[in-house]
């Protein structure tokens, strides 16, 4: 992995390695002692990259990125939040087990430097089960799930494509609940804000301490985006349909609106 510096000509490497008996994200500079680098623990590197990028203003950063990171980075680049020319992606293919956990339909990075591409997962059984329910059963299911929420904001903070400085979810106008759990609107607002950028990485579900099946909700919204607009987020070329006119022309200059 040291080759990343020489082959790809990067100044920094964002990866994960062993530290204090744990696996830690690490930003290495050229010439730093690498330690024992690891690729098996699924940190969402795109999220860590956005945080690091705020402070590292110069030089090229090589990032160990899985397919979902790659797609998240594409969304961020489109919105001028990352500079593609300063990035080098080191492609990491997810293990079959990880693909299964995320019910991932697109697991293979465009360039594979590490690992072997696993078969994409088929239809998501948990989404199918939810869609089979009657409306009232489905509402009951989600209410029971959302009731567990203790508003840690983990789903937002760990999300690679959540980028607003001032989060609407912290605004009492829309989530007026005092204390926890926040109500239904909290989760719906988050779902719609991510509609045109969620890359289904599943980090929200993984970091939810109370196991709310957030990825299923995201997948259902993505399905709607596909049906309504034939759009799949993570597309590096196409502008979000929510930011274009009905004819598909760009609507606003500031494409990085939430």
């Amino acid at each position: 992995m040291r080759l990343a510096f020489e082959e790809k000509g990067a100044d920094y490497l964002l990866a994960t390695r062993d530290e204090h008996g744990n696996v830690a994200p690490v930003l290495l500079k050229k010439g730093d002692e690498p330690g024992t680098l690891r690729v098996d623990v699924p940190y969402q590197m795109a999220m860590i990259l956005t945080k690091v990028n705020k402070f590292v203003k110069e030089g090229k950063i090589a990032v160990v990125a899985r397919r979902c990171d790659e797609r998240a980075i594409a969304e961020l680049v489109k919105r001028d939040l990352l500079d593609q020319s300063r990035l080098n992606l080191i492609g990491l293919a997810c293990s079959a087990e990880q693909v299964k956990e995320c019910r991932c339909t697109d697991p293979c990075p465009s360039v594979v430097d590490f690992g072997e591409c696993a078969e994409p997962s088929g239809d998501d059984a948990s989404v199918a089960r939810l869609l089979d329910m009657s409306l009232s059963d489905r509402l009951g299911f989600w209410i029971a799930q959302f009731r567990k929420c203790n508003k840690c904001f983990g789903c937002t903070l760990n999300c690679p494509v959540c980028f607003c400085d001032e989060c609407l979810l912290e605004d009492k106008t829309f989530t007026p609940e005092k204390g926890i759990p926040p109500g239904l609107a909290f989760h719906l607002i988050r779902a719609i804000h991510l509609a045109d950028k969620c890359v289904e990485c599943g980090e929200c579900e993984r970091s939810c301490p109370v196991d709310i099946p957030l990825l299923s909700l995201r997948k259902m919204v993505s399905q709607d985006m596909k049906e309504l607009f034939d759009y799949v987020s993570g597309d590096s070329e196409r502008r979000s349909p929510l930011l274009t006119t009905l004819e598909g022309d760009p609507m606003e200059d500031d494409a990085n609106v939430c």
Partner: protein, 678 residues
């Protein structure tokens, strides 16, 4: 330019989550959860995610200050330390060393607390050292010590996931220990039954299998009631009771006086619900009890803890995985501060100061004379300050002006002191009254260890330099010790302190920094090759047989009256921590819960003509505060709840400092109060 990720331990509750502090150019800028950490597993709560927010706050204390002409003015370390040393010496020679009180801190590391108690015992010469465990789990330490022989959580946090039944009482787990609450929910997803007994409807009770709402201060009644149901239906574990416990017959006699009908009368829990809950708990293969302040902060707190221990032992739920009696400790290192001996009656590792052999052992280890008689507790110290028996206090990282009951009383006590020195990171309400204030480093600016509620010893690592002249508490304690003329304070690093602590406290015997780097060690861990202990009391109790305590229901110290018709109970909310020193300086946390409030049931609100958000005055026999009403069905009619984080309406102006006779813990959870429109 560099961005580092430093693995450290959360400074808030006692769960002991590890996370990475993100550090850009030596400045702490963010928090990233650690996916491989056994406790947090890549999740955190809102406080954890905001644990970096107060570190660079402009209010941080940066220079030592000494009171001159009634004003705290900046000065040098030499002058400030010199002043403390000369004042302590003066007070000691004028009134004796026992007129000095040292308050250690559950926010400081094990190493620092070890030094604080050594400072009190060796350098000053008094056992008057205590810390805020007196206000939270003193009754646990006392109660479980008598019942089991060890005052700590019997099992570990990850075990919650595999329990068949979790009985939660007096704990708002999802708000106060979010990640433990999350584990309880995981257990429920796997099919476990969760029973919550609490006078408030908490976020956890709303998703629980069963939720019982008892009248505040009637806990012995319902616990005895459950034991009675279990024994009379023959659901108790006869083999366990026969082989591992003593005192069963006396217990049976006492609980016979608590039939379900009577419990309903006392505690207001419907009798069928009580029977059902008792059956759920007793018939589970592995049942855990989790409790917190709702049990301990009563004037009969020790009895309550013992009653819970009775319940666990009667059903054989001790000494196996996913069982036990589990006090959830509320501060990042309150467990460690107790372990390190910051208690007036115990040396490090829970060794009695009045035991001659132990006393001799410590005199030999530390190379000096030690006081033989046990010291006074924190609550007692403020009473004694008022009577003039305590003349000087040295407070490390505590804020008794907010945290102790009956603030008016504390204020009067402090004003009678001849000398008060405070070491803290922020200008707290207590620091404002001090003669000398020293600036300390916060958790992100020093190395050390915290001991989590489940006895896991977790590393704290330095991520940034302290602001201005601030120094870590261990250095301050070393300086004070040396200047007071004592030996044994020549430490160069926290690691060296741990070496000494491991040598004198057998439960930490096998602990060293190299091990903590590699693995999660839980005490007792007597030797280097000992793996640490997950479940306590597996083969036998530390005192041989577990002791049943036949305890009777006693009413709370203060009952409601015509003038004060409501029961006031206090506690935390999710977004703030204790006296708010840190969380109220964290923008996002402050935004979530910016103002003090009192929870009132809609029935009471209607009778009083109060609407939601109306300004109300809440009074008790000791004082009154004005704050806004939060009308909510989640609280029992007749009971009101105030979180104690807010200085502008400090709940502890109202609370009662009636003490438990054994543990000397104050009754924060029950006092009589009135509510009126302001």
């Amino acid at each position: 330019m560099s961005v580092d990720h430093i693995l450290t331990t959360c400074p808030y509750c006692g769960t002991g989550c590890n996370f990475f502090l993100q550090v850009a150019n030596r400045r702490v800028v963010g928090v990233v959860p650690c996916k491989t950490d056994e406790t947090s597993k890549g999740s955190l709560c809102i406080k954890g995610y905001n644990a970096h927010a107060f570190v660079n706050h402009p209010d941080r204390l940066t220079h030592p200050m000494v009171k001159k002409g009634g004003q705290l003015t900046e000065t040098t370390w030499d002058e400030a330390i010199g002043k403390i040393v000369s004042e302590l010496k003066r007070v000691a020679s004028a009134y004796g060393t026992d007129s000095i009180m040292v308050l250690a801190s559950a926010k400081c590391t094990n190493e620092e607390n070890y030094l604080f108690q050594k400072l009190a015992r060796m350098a000053i010469g008094t056992n008057n050292v205590d810390h805020c465990a007196r206000l939270c789990h003193a009754s646990t330490v006392a109660g479980l010590l008598q019942s089991f022989g060890s005052g700590a959580m019997t099992n570990t946090i990850p075990e919650f996931e595999n329990a068949d039944c979790v009985l939660v009482t007096g704990s708002n787990t999802l708000e106060a220990h979010p990640l433990i609450g999350a584990r309880v929910l995981k257990a429920k997803e796997k099919g476990a039954k969760v029973v919550v007994v609490d006078p408030r409807d908490t976020p956890l009770s709303r998703v629980a299998t069963m939720s019982l709402r008892q009248q505040s201060g009637t806990d012995v009644a319902w616990i005895n009631g459950m034991i009675n149901v279990i024994i009379s239906e023959g659901l108790h574990d006869k083999e366990f009771v026969d082989s591992r416990t003593s005192g069963f017959d006396e217990l049976r006699e006492v609980v016979r006086g608590y039939p379900p009908e009577k419990v309903e009368e006392i505690a207001g829990i419907p009798k069928d619900d009580l029977v059902k809950a008792a059956r759920i708990y007793a018939s589970a293969e592995k049942a855990m009890i989790a409790y917190a302040m709702g049990i301990t902060q009563h004037s009969n707190g020790t009895n309550l803890v013992r009653a819970l221990a009775n319940l666990a032992m009667i059903t054989g739920n001790v000494g196996r995985e996913s069982t036990g009696v589990n006090p959830l400790r509320g501060q990042c290192n309150v467990q460690g501060a107790c372990d390190a001996g910051a208690l007036p009656n115990l040396y490090p590792g829970y060794q009695s100061v009045e035991d001659d052999e132990t006393h001799a052992k410590f005199e030999k280890a530390w190379g000096g004379k030690l006081p033989g008689k046990k010291g006074m507790t924190l609550t007692c110290a403020f009473n004694q300050a008022l009577t003039g028996d305590v003349k000087a206090m040295l407070i490390f990282g505590e804020n008794p002006m907010m945290s102790d009951p009956d603030t008016g009383h504390v204020e009067a006590a402090i004003s009678k002191l001849e000398f008060l020195a405070v070491v803290d990171i922020f200008p707290t309400e207590t620091a404002k009254l001090a003669d000398v204030v020293l600036p300390a480093a916060c958790y992100a600016e020093k190395d050390g260890t915290f001991t989590a509620t489940d006895r896991a010893i977790r590393a704290v690592r330095k991520a940034a330099d302290p602001p201005g002249d601030a120094r870590p508490d261990w250095k301050i304690a070393c300086d004070l010790g040396k200047k007071l003329g004592s030996e044994g304070f020549e430490f160069e690093s926290p690691e060296q302190i741990m070496v000494e602590m491991a040598a004198v406290a057998p439960i930490y015997g096998g602990v060293d920094y190299a091990r903590i780097e590699r693995e999660m060690v839980r005490w007792p861990c007597p030797t280097k090759d000992h793996p640490g202990t997950k479940v306590l009391h597996t083969e036998s109790f530390k005192i041989g047989k577990g002791v049943f305590a036949p305890v009777e229901h006693t009413p709370p110290a203060e009952e409601t009256s015509e003038d004060f018709p409501f029961i006031l109970t206090t506690g935390r909310n999710l977004f703030h921590f204790h006296t708010g020193t840190m969380t109220r300086r964290s923008v996002k946390l402050q935004r979530e819960a910016p103002n003090p409030y009192v929870e009132v049931n809609p029935v009471d609100a209607r009778a009083l003509g109060i609407s939601d958000d109306a300004s109300v005055r809440v009074s008790s026999r000791r004082g009154s505060i004005t704050l806004s009403a939060r009308v909510t069905p989640w609280i029992r009619p007749g009971t009101i709840f105030i979180p104690f984080h807010y200085v502008e309406a400090a709940a502890n102006r109202l609370t009662n400092n009636a003490l438990d006779p054994i543990a000397q813990i104050p009754e924060f959870k029950v006092c009589a109060a009135s509510v009126e429109k302001a």
